[in-house]
Symmetry: C2
Subunit: 198 residues, 2 copies
Amino acid sequence: MKKFVITIGREYGSGGRIIGKKLAQRLGISFYDKNMIDKIAEESGFSREAVEALDGKKTSSFLYSVFMSTQPVTLADTLFKAQTDIIKDLAAKESCIFVGRCADYVLRENTNCINAFVYAPTEVKVKRSKEEYQDKCDNYEMFVRKMDKNRASYYNYYTPNQWGFRDNYDILINSSVGIDNAVNMLASLAESKFGGKF
Amino acid sequence: MKKFVITIGREYGSGGRIIGKKLAQRLGISFYDKNMIDKIAEESGFSREAVEALDGKKTSSFLYSVFMSTQPVTLADTLFKAQTDIIKDLAAKESCIFVGRCADYVLRENTNCINAFVYAPTEVKVKRSKEEYQDKCDNYEMFVRKMDKNRASYYNYYTPNQWGFRDNYDILINSSVGIDNAVNMLASLAESKFGGKF
């Protein structure tokens, strides 16, 4: 079978990461999320602390772009470039799943690709943030909204597209249909699109 | 098996209607689209010509709402009310699929329901408009955009939601993944959600 890639964008607390992980297990392919950051840190000399400090901290694309116009290449941009190279290298080497990191845009030339986006109602995301991730904060609704705002700013800054807007993706799934149902649907699409049997 | 409903919103030329029709055949349930209009015409005294003249002609929700504020109940509203009643009656009587007609909103109290939205890149919609529907117009891109604008205005006027926005739906599918793949994914979701074997 030809190498293929699945990218998953996701709202914070929607369960997109666990859907990606289960899907990778089901398809027998690699899964890249935080371990990709480790790889970046290892291969390109970023310390893990630097990566985590920069990761998703782009809270205002407008202010950031004003600031950027006065700066040469920043550490954040160097990190993004390193991530981009690693995503492209991995996708060229093996079939795999990427969660986040604008991978749908980075791999836009790759035709053997499924781009998915996972979202969920606020109450579902709040529950996951509270119970599963055990985030500590005063107002979970505001916290979850803020996390999504960060993701949108990051994506909208580094790509010409709009985060979560349907035109960028092949499929958008509300994870309240069930994590396993979402995995089943994506596996069914992968099976017919890439011609495997999963 | 408990009665269930699938609603499909769709961009013009995306193939959402044919996906609904094939899905209904696959699941062995009824499909309502234009034949629903016939039913409305028949049961509530609207002539087919009146229904077709009004159908999807709400091109500006703002102007329409200004106009509406000076009017008592219009023919369009009476038609919408009749459609709503028929959708609710049918959903109470049998498992079925509705395409369009704000059915996701009309049936928002129905928990045994999947709400889907089908979209496609402009070139796919233009191709379908030209070759399959054989629409006659000067500029197909503009025509397709106009048809979608009409649908959005209609939906946004009759519901508090935004047409095509992910939060209203369980799943959004880009039909360029393939009509049959879309049908397979929706059948897989129906199978796990409603507990049948299709």
